[in-house]
Symmetry: C2
Subunit: 481 residues, 2 copies
């Protein structure tokens, strides 16, 4: 998940809080026609079959195994890299091999940032190598590095207060971790804010609630008309140490070397496959995740898990012969990490399909043990989804929350009011691993992935096969079904 | 804590389990004379004073602050390094500055292993840099490295089963983490066991229950008459990945480069300070921790916390004018990590004092929130300690367990039957940080250290001031007090 969607998510969250009572009341006041409730309830045998095959039967462990095969083969997959394009080719071939339909890649121009070698070294008050990761889109340093005295602040306000001391300095941010959404502003805007006061580089405490001296990377944004300066994340531990030194009045000197470069945009692809609907093929249910990752760790959690959850859901539905009325389309987005680049391009290119998007799903906030769904849409979407989730007591995945955060690539569609969902899962440790070397297969679990796949596949199939469309603005028609 | 003491600890643990009921019964059957119970109870005001001054008053936060000053100044401190000797000089000066008595260093010859540059790189089936840490005492590789095909096993038994395949190979161990005590045998003996089958190097899964792609180092032992081969730890995540690749039948080729060297022994020192007893100065209560650390991370937890817990306990007792009947001696051991080298030398040099060792304490398994003590000794030692711990309900540190594990430097004394104790604390995450870059000040907490210091200082003072000696073999005399 990148920060470009955070304002949206914050707004959605704010809306949720503000309208919380109303929404809950509305869910409580669900008044779906009996015919609709009966129709949804009639899917119990199908759900049982999908759960049995996926959690206990022939497809048990397959989401994990497909993912592990892929992750071990390719490792991480940053936008612009030939490794990502090879991984996309592999998924296109694999999609054909597993009988998905209309398999193809859709080209999109993506940023091409490369890290190169990098290091941060504390020179005074004593020598220490500082674990670090340059931030996506950061410029590099001169080859000899930037050697400068450091100031250490806990907030933008504190930086403003000492703004006269900042010129020529490296600015270290040791901001408290509040939440990812709140704290990530320091990763995003540290460089431009510091540069506006004359800072020459920034080192930002990694955005995580827990660290084993683990640096986390991520995208950052330079403001227009501000000098671009190199920027990187250091570990929570080192940021705290530098702050203690600074508060003691010790002179801190750091040398930062980064070879980072922004190369010309590269061509990548969103990876698409379908199970074409048998009676309303023009109507579409999307299940998705992003195939690209950061260039550290393996991108197994962010977002290998989400991508393979969606891809294997389609594979299993196809193999079980569960072709729905509507088309189920799996999309593996590209260049999510650089600002939802693949998704924005897709939405633009498929404007003419927008009216036919029945329901959109993405999983990009962990595929830990699932508890249900998070949704966006009008209250009756929640009513319908709750009826569907009531079919999942055996895997304990009956909970419904809103909004559908953890689905960044769906941002534009959700903003337009297209109903959608993300996976509600035990993601409490998600940001421990996120954008770091710790994002590996060890963050994934076969049983959790099986349950999530059973849920994901079932929901996609039921929604795609219902006798009525998922409502966008009005639910009147539901009562005429 | 090194593994050299683990067999002892395992035996002690086994004894504890076997005699658990007996021991518990014996504690339950405590039959201390009323006079002794009353005497211990009379320390309530002293304990209250120490707790008030340490947890809430003048000394609040000082254990953390002294430790942070030290850790930030020196970083990690491996045996043989000038940094460790500078750190010892600093502690000797600081001990004098804070009015400890008979402050001196006691020289000891210690191993001098240096890591140098090192790397492990997966070359086939794909390129990936593997996070690693060479193990203490390991030899290095030739300058060009060792490039070899790898076999991956989960146990020594599995290695034996494929022993004919091992010649010329790098052996990767992906053993399950059971407990530190059980699993560390793979770090200890991987190299010699593999070499006996013709292996050319070993990469061992780090000994930890949780990883964020975190390699952990530690000492290892070469068997006599076996070819020495380079050995290192890799991360849990990479060990699992290599095993998956191996189980798929993929050819794994790894290049290992290590500059590690064993230099001639160096001179280090155990750091000693006292509060001389006012009436029986020849009798001694020891409070201790080790000042050396591994050469990664900061050695803040292993064992900065334990060392400063003991040192600051003495400082606070001295400042509060709490001079006991017996001498309280604080010892900051050296070269614990290379096999309790400082402690073994000290025990040998102080043989003539053994009869006067009244009680020995060490903290080397975390200084997280304290719950009480772990002890070794005859059951009446437990009875006395439980009476003392009953004085600590306000800081919730009244629990007593046995044996006194987490006190490796006391091994020889405890084996001789000298009563002793270690800190019982919330150490569930201890091995997450242990011997890794994550061993920093962030593993320490000011409030937990204050409570531990109040407990540690109080227990040391009470035991050193009781009218009777702590019993070793017979408790008959207690009834004649």
């Amino acid at each position: 998940m990148t920060e470009n969607v955070l304002i949206t998510i914050c707004l959605l969250l704010l809306c949720t809080i503000v309208f919380c009572d109303i929404s809950n009341n509305e869910i409580e006041q669900c008044n779906l026609p009996k015919k609709i409730k009966d129709e949804i309830a009639s899917y119990a045998p199908v759900v049982e079959k999908i759960i049995n095959e996926t959690v206990y039967g022939k497809y048990k462990g397959t989401t994990y195994d497909h993912l592990a095969d892929f992750i071990d083969k390719f490792g991480n997959r940053i936008a612009g890299s030939s490794n990502l394009e090879n991984a996309i080719d592999y998924m296109l071939n694999k999609s054909i091999q597993f009988n998905l339909e209309n398999v193809h890649g859709e080209k999109v121009q993506v940023p091409h940032w490369v890290r190169g070698k990098e290091s941060a070294t504390l020179l005074e008050p004593r020598y220490q190598s500082l674990a670090m990761l340059g931030l996506g889109s950061s410029i590099g340093t001169p080859p000899e590095g930037i050697r400068a005295e450091a100031v250490v602040v806990k907030s933008f306000d504190e930086l403003k207060n000492i703004s006269k001391k900042v010129k020529g300095k490296i600015v270290v941010f040791d901001q408290e971790y509040v939440s990812y959404g709140i704290s990530v502003q320091y990763r995003d805007y540290a460089a431009s804010t510091s540069a506006s006061y004359g800072g020459v580089a920034t080192l930002v405490r990694s955005i995580t609630p827990f660290s084993l001296n683990t640096p986390h990377t991520g995208w950052q944004d330079y403001n227009d008309n501000i000098t671009k300066i190199p920027t990187a994340c250091i570990t929570v531990e080192d940021a705290n140490m530098l702050r203690r030194m600074y508060e003691r009045g010790e002179k801190i000197v750091i040398e930062l070397k980064m070879e980072a470069k922004n190369l010309p945009p590269a061509t990548s692809r969103n990876t698409v496959g379908e199970i074409v609907g048998h009676s309303e093929p023009q109507k579409i249910v999307i299940i998705s995740g992003h195939l690209d990752s950061w260039d550290v760790g393996q991108g197994a959690m962010d977002d290998g898990g989400g991508a393979f959850l969606s891809w294997n859901s389609a594979v299993i539905l196809k193999a079980l012969g569960l072709r729905a009325k509507r088309t189920i389309r799996t999309i593996l987005w590209t260049a999510e990490e650089e600002g939802l680049v693949g998704a924005f391009a897709y939405v633009k290119a498929h404007k003419n399909e927008t009216k036919n998007l029945n329901f959109v799903m993405e999983s990009d906030e962990g595929t830990f043990t699932p508890h249900g769904l998070k949704y966006s849409g009008i209250p009756d979407v929640g009513c319908i989804l709750q009826e569907i989730l009531n079919l999942f007591p055996t895997i304990n995945a009956t909970q419904l929350q809103q909004p559908a955060d953890g689905a960044p690539d769906l941002t534009e569609w959700l903003q337009e009011g297209i109903p959608g969902a993300s996976l509600l899962n035990e993601a409490e440790r998600y940001f421990w691993f996120h954008h770091s070397a710790a994002d590996t297969m060890d963050a994934e679990n076969p049983e959790a992935l099986d349950k999530a796949t059973a849920l994901w596949a079932s929901v996609a199939y039921i929604v795609a096969n219902l006798s009525f469309d998922m409502p966008r603005n009005s639910t009147d028609y539901l009562h005429k079904v």
